[in-house]
Amino acid sequence: MFELLWLIPALPLAGFLVIALMGGALARRAVAVIGVGSVGAAAIVSVGVAAQFISAPPPGDSLTQVLWAWLEVGLLRPHVALCLDALSVTMILVVTVVGFLILLYSAEFMGDDESYAWFFAYMDLFVASMLILALADNLFFLYLGWEGVGLCSYLLIGFWYKERENARAAMKAFIVTRVGDVGLAVALLLIFTSLGTLQIQEVMRRAAQEWAVGSNTATLAAALLLCGAVGKSAQAPLQTWLPDAMAGPTPVSALIHAATMVTAGVYLIARTNGLFSLAPAVQSVVAIIGVATLLLGGLSALVQRDIKRVLAYSTMSQIGYMFLALGVGAWSAAIFHFATHAFFKSLLFLGAGAVLLATDEQRDMFKLGGLRAEMPYTFWTFVAGAASLAALPLVTGGFYSKDMMLWNAWTSPKGSPWLWLGGALGALITALYAFRMVFLTFFGERKSVVSRRPGPIMRIPMGILAVLSIFAGFLETPGWLGGMDYLSPFLGTALPGLPHAKSQPAMELFLQALTSLLCVSGVLVAYLLFVAHPEVPDRIAAIKAGGWLQGFWFSGWGFDRVYEFIVVKPFVRIALANRGDVVDTLFTGLARANEALHSSLSRTQTGKLRDYALGVVAGAVLAIGIMVLL
């Protein structure tokens, strides 16, 4: 099975090529079959590969498949090579399975779109790039996937580009992530010049030998990698593009801006964990960024009106949790949460998509409401997702992954009670906004007409994801609850585990009870505020401080305004001032001088024979004169 590894990225890529090259000639049904089928086939191969990897792990628990040498320039010899280890197995499983489900959903969701073929072409290209990113054996190849997913993100956010606002959002996403990508590119250069290789395992080995813990080079390299990760994963301070990215079609938001691409930063940090271990300062910055973003995103999600923007801020916040886990060295916990988050967040997006489809793109939750009776299937799957997002204790997947991260944030030598506190507060906020969304959309009185209900092709993925988001948590349960641990030891073959903290079952139970209480009370508060006493939020907003805070959070903490002021406006001003292109005047000047010279010389071309004769004579006289006189 392992020799089929190359098929996993190759199948979606082939799907992309076929649709892109002959999309016009294919029937819609054929496009859907190729687009969805290629990813489905990749999912089947992934499952096969993963099954073999688990049942009969290759020697050294990792496997490299070299396809061909990409280029050879001096020491730079990146191969097009795929590396399979526990981390990439987890990644490709999630990417192909969730990708397949979302593409299946899109086959119906996008049914009426005129650019149906291009949608599937871009989605397939995205899945292929994401798989390259996850499987790449060297950082050079990884960078190819990294840029590929960025490109597809751009293309798909601006998929309905005829509306200016969408095109603007696409550009914003591309440019803001680019800021981080520059950091990653420089990190690659730095790693290559100082270690002489880009092959990931080799980089980790040499870095551990040559760089001391906390040395400047290691810190710089890790900081630059972090820069790339922050941009891609929409963490503070480069998070502003994610809410606007919701301009894309909902399946795009589900796949790219919730489940997979935005977690590329998490994957990158987990993949290069060796470097981050060498730079403890940067690693603690990772944790701090994580906590800051999870609170920032959560509080912003609390006051949004647009259902997709709530989910966007929520994604930001959940990735903040993953960064927190990475920052305290709980690599496996971060990847665990990546997996559960991919399930429940894409489920929530698909549910939101079904709602938007039913109500003719009514994104404002205050104009929705009462859809529970109209769309029971969507309601129940959505509740499953929201419960998992809110980490309702015991019964949801999100609970186990979030609990694992929080517990690690408390016990890890790099953790601290403060980080735990931030995370626990975030859990309360998460529960609050998740159920605010549920209550506003599905409870109360009905305010919009349901014109269309999801058909079977949309229901199947939603059902499967609902099951996954509830039950994926049982991969890893705390000691007092069966103590199942399938994921950590598995991931432990690729990611270093935490130094075993002293077992404190009582403490663990206490903290779990506390966070569970917070989550449940969040749901209760949401019920009180948005179902039982819907006038209270308005009354809070009517208070001056409350209203100000609402506006502040609604705008995503004013980051957009600050960037507008610091970056965008000055840049536009400079661009306007330089409209004539100052540097270019030198070259246009050269051209102008030439033209002037030419026109003055062309005046001598009178066409009169006698003038030419005179010219000849004058030349001869001059030449003879010079010869005689000198």
């Binding site: 010389l601 001598t604 006698r610």
Partner: protein, 102 residues
């Protein structure tokens, strides 16, 4: 026999050449231009002959025969061109042909 000094002959040749040149430059009638060119050629031929006589060398007279031959050919071609010119422009004014003005 009182020899004419070589310089005098060359002065006459130079004078003839300049006369021809001025003719080429100022006349607009192509026939006159052609004749002026003939005068310039003859001036050059005369200079060769005078110089050959002055230095007691036969080369000057050989060169003159060459020039004479060349002048005959030139007149033949030139006249043919003038006929064509007249056919085309219905005039012999050289300034009429100025379509290639830059």
């Amino acid at each position: 026999m009182a020899q004419v000094p070589m310089e005098h002959g060359l002065y006459v040749a130079g004078l003839l050449f300049c006369l021809g040149l001025v003719g080429v430059l100022v006349r607009r009638d192509l026939l006159f231009v052609l004749m002026s060119i003939e005068i310039m050629l003859n001036a050059a031929g005369m200079a060769f002959v005078v110089a050959g006589a002055g230095w007691q060398q036969p080369d000057g007279q050989i060169m003159f025969i060459f020039i004479l031959t060349m002048a005959a050919a030139e007149v033949a071609v030139g006249l043919a061109l003038i006929v064509q010119f007249h056919h085309h422009f219905k005039t012999l004014d050289a300034d009429a042909a100025r379509r290639m003005r830059g």
